[in-house]
């Protein structure tokens, strides 16, 4: 009983800590985002209460928490590791505008015209290829190869139900239109060797040689390369639509407890140094500003052809096609 009381008092003591702080919900890998936030604490003297996301929620957990907290927001800043769910939050009215002075150099296509979100440090959707299974002369080169019987059962991708794969397939609906995309999905389903539950899983199965190649994100390819796996990235559709580039996004939450501190944190995150640091780190994120220093292993738009996407339509397609994806890819 005495131990119970002490434990309770300790929890109440933690609860009563009323130091001013800014709260950020962050779905980028904690390992890469936390040091950036801790440096902000040191530099500004403002305490950061960072909340991260986990696999069990498939990266939509924080989005759902923000929506559930809509009547009494607890969060000031949302750092999303992709863009479509951020636009959905904007549509739901839970974000507010803030044009950070540090966002000026970021290309317009990665900034919301109304200032509700700003994109930075991106990942590209690429093929991860096992170099022991495929020779350089015989590589998949287009997303449409996923529907080509030549590659039947030799590749894997994640189910487009969450994360960047969902965003990617919604972008296809927005770009290709309904008929072409649905036909592509049907052909792909007949052709694929499996449907993984996440991109990291795809990259691991290809790294192990269970599949010749897979569709995933550049950070997952980099993770496997650093583990010493015989894999490389192939940027699809160099002669066509190009590879989809999905930026991180940062937004100010409407009605958050400390909006002014939230703006300071957004300014910090949107510095060129953050993009350089994320490019340098293990996830090899792609800087979107021109001129940000990055290692040679990180390719930036211009080094490869990037896909032109209407992000607003892509977010709409997520709402419209979620049930189609569920019914089609979980039969």
């Amino acid at each position: 009983m005495r131990l119970a009381t002490i434990s309770l008092l300790a929890l109440v003591a933690i609860a009563c800590n009323k130091e001013p702080q800014v709260t950020i919900y962050c779905s980028l890998d904690q390992v890469y985002s936390e040091p950036i936030l801790r440096d902000f604490e040191k530099q500004s003297g403002i305490k950061v209460n960072a909340v991260f996301d986990i696999e069990a929620n498939k990266t939509v957990g924080l989005v759902r928490t923000i929506l559930e907290e809509k009547s009494r927001p607890r969060c000031d800043v949302f750092w999303n590791n992709e863009i479509a769910q951020t636009i959905r939050l904007k549509k739901a009215g839970v974000l507010t505008h803030y044009n950070s002075p540090n966002a000026k150099e970021i290309p317009q296509e990665f900034r919301d015209p109304e200032g509700h979100w700003t994109g930075f440090a991106a990942r590209a959707r690429v093929f991860i290829v096992n170099t022991q299974k495929l020779s350089p002369e015989d590589l998949p080169s287009s997303l449409l190869d996923l529907a080509n019987p030549k590659w039947s059962k030799r590749f894997i991708l994640a189910k487009p139900l969450t994360g960047t794969t969902l965003t990617h397939f919604a972008a296809l609906f927005a770009t290709w239109g309904e008929e072409k995309t649905k036909q592509f999905c049907e052909d792909l389903l007949r052709n694929t060797g499996g449907l993984a539950n996440g991109n990291a899983h795809v990259s691991k199965l290809v790294a192990k040689g269970e599949f010749a190649f897979g569709l995933t994100d550049t950070d997952d390819v980099q993770a496997r390369i650093e583990e010493g796996a015989p894999v490389r990235a192939v940027y699809p559709d160099a002669d066509g639509d190009g590879a989809l580039v999905i930026p991180n996004t940062v937004s100010l939450v409407a009605g958050g407890p400390n909006p002014e501190l939230g703006k300071k944190l957004i300014d910090w995150i949107l510095r060129a140094e953050t993009e350089a640091r994320l490019a340098e780190g293990g996830s090899a994120q792609i800087p979107l500003r021109p001129g940000v220093p990055h290692p040679a292993r990180v390719k930036v738009p211009g080094d490869f052809r990037s896909m032109k996407v209407d992000w607003i339509r892509t977010a709409d397609e997520i709402d419209r096609r979620s049930k189609y994806f569920q019914e089609t890819f979980t039969r």
Partner: protein, 484 residues
């Protein structure tokens, strides 16, 4: 609790209209959950007999190790098993759930085996040998085994992550929990998620109702003249028996932990894991300790009342249901209930924004363990003992302190240990609560998302080691008590 402000209406019930998808969900869910319950029964029943009744060396060690599979979350076990043998599909899910939850069966069954009266058994053996003893004892023991199997069924039915993870290669098999998660992740479909939860909740409630009925029908006090049963010498069967116990532990515990140790690799992974997650580990231990002690303290009087009343099926079901509810629903309920003002008080600042909300959630979810363990312990005490105390003029408080508490202590300790153990591995129900963000299990699942295998494995093993502490303490206490 589950007041839905913006999206719930009767229209959401259309998701329940029987169609091929609904029938598929039902068939898949029953297949996986039923299969897991059967597998757990096949492993747990003989395991319980051997560790509770047979004369075997290192019996206490087998009892201690037999609880530990509960400390490895099923998704981690699934990852380990996939790494070992590439298991996939519904049979893989059945194996993972069966292996992870078989301790429920053996723990409950062993308790029933230990409560066979020596004189009754000896009389049966004299009358018709071991066959006659088995005929008398099995009806006494099987209900406990069935309760354990029903708990396995319930936990497997509420799990979304394992069937999803094991559907990577080959055809996808969807289960009810999968359907609830899919609807939940859509921004405007909370009402549909709640409606989609109705069939699994009905199945869970039915299973729990059956388990509670069995428990009520077969519980009894031991009486003042109770003599514990004699250990049974196995003779030539001792070696196969030990081989069986070792095999079960090998499959359910050593194989997944061994795989994790292999994945963790060098000592540096453990050092990295501890450096990155020591605060999370400390928070988990603090929360688990506080929840275990508070839940147990708060359940003493309700358990005593339940033990004396010998009924109250509705109350039992009410306290057991939060344990089996899909975690997502509990999270949403807690956010909506605590993130607001009320009665002139800002609950969001003082409760929702602090670790207090996490503690309350754990108390709500896991109070069933101390409630049932303590009620069972109180129920086993012969009322004549308390009556004797009253006749001797002892106040109720002194009777409780001198008679009831010492005799029920093992039940209290078991309940507290289970709360500690389940808080250490809980993730689903706190996943959406920001204050629940800094626990060791949250950190592990964060690593899983980004494929950090060596750190996942190292941190899992560290977490299992810390989670095992109360189980080890309880085991040592039982061993010492047995020796005394």
């Amino acid at each position: 609790m589950f007041r839905v402000q913006d999206s719930f209406g009767l229209g959401n019930l259309r998701v329940l209209i029987p169609d091929s998808r609904q029938w598929t969900l039902l068939a898949h869910s029953l297949w996986v959950s039923g299969g897991a319950a059967l597998l757990a029964l096949l492993l747990g029943l003989p395991y319980a007999f051997l560790v509770s009744r047979a004369k075997i060396p290192a019996r206490g060690l087998f009892q201690f190790l037999g609880v530990l599979p509960l400390l490895v979350p099923p998704l981690i076990a699934a990852i380990a098993w996939t790494g070992l043998f590439g298991i996939q599909g519904p049979w893989g899910a059945i194996a993972v759930f069966g292996f992870s939850y078989f301790p429920f069966v053996w723990l409950l069954t062993a308790r029933a085996f230990e409560r066979v009266d020596r004189r009754m058994e000896e009389a049966a053996i004299l009358a018709g040998g071991w066959k006659a003893a088995a005929r008398i004892e099995l009806p006494f023991v099987l209900p406990s085994a069935a309760i354990g199997a029903l708990l396995v069924f319930v936990f497997a039915l509420a799990d979304f992550a394992v069937p999803d993870y094991l559907s990577t290669v080959g055809p996808k098999f969807s289960v009810y929990a999968d359907d609830v998660f899919f609807r939940w992740k859509q921004a405007d479909a909370t009402g549909e998620a709640i409606a989609a939860s109705i069939p699994p909740l009905a199945l869970i409630s039915l299973a729990l109702f059956l388990a509670l009925r069995l428990r009520l029908r077969h519980s009894h006090s031991l009486g003042t003249g109770f003599l514990p049963p004699q250990p049974i010498a196995l003779g030539k069967l001792q070696v196969p028996a030990i081989a069986f116990l070792t095999l079960v532990l090998g499959v359910t515990l050593f194989a997944p932990l061994g795989r994790l140790a292999y994945e963790a690799g060098s000592f540096s992974s453990y050092a990295d894991a501890l450096r990155e997650a020591r605060v999370d580990l400390g928070t988990s231990i603090l929360l688990a300790s506080a929840a275990a002690l508070l839940a147990t303290a708060l359940q003493v009087l309700p358990a005593l009342r339940a033990a004396r009343a010998r009924s109250g099926l509705g109350m039992d079901l009410g306290i057991l249901l939060p344990l089996a509810l899909p975690g997502v629903l509990i999270s949403i309920g807690f956010i909506r209930f605590w993130n607001r003002e009320g009665f002139g008080f800002d609950w969001s600042d003082w409760v929702y924004g602090t670790k207090l909300v996490v503690l309350l959630l754990f108390l709500a979810r896991f109070s069933a363990f101390p409630f049932f363990a303590t009620a069972e312990a109180f129920r086993a005490i012969d009322p004549a003992l308390e009556e004797a105390g009253a006749t001797a003029g002892l106040s109720w408080g002194r009777r409780f302190r001198l008679i009831l508490f010492p005799l029920a202590f093992s039940g209290l300790a078991a309940g507290a240990a289970l709360v500690y153990l389940f808080v250490m591995r809980e993730i689903d129900a706190v996943a959406l609560i920001p204050s629940g963000n800094r626990t060791v299990m949250f950190r592990i699942y964060n690593y899983i998302h980004f494929g950090r295998d060596s750190l996942i494995a190292a941190l899992c093993l560290v977490s299992v080691a810390f989670g095992a502490v109360p189980v080890l303490a309880a085991s040592l206490w039982r061993t010492r008590k047995g020796a005394a």
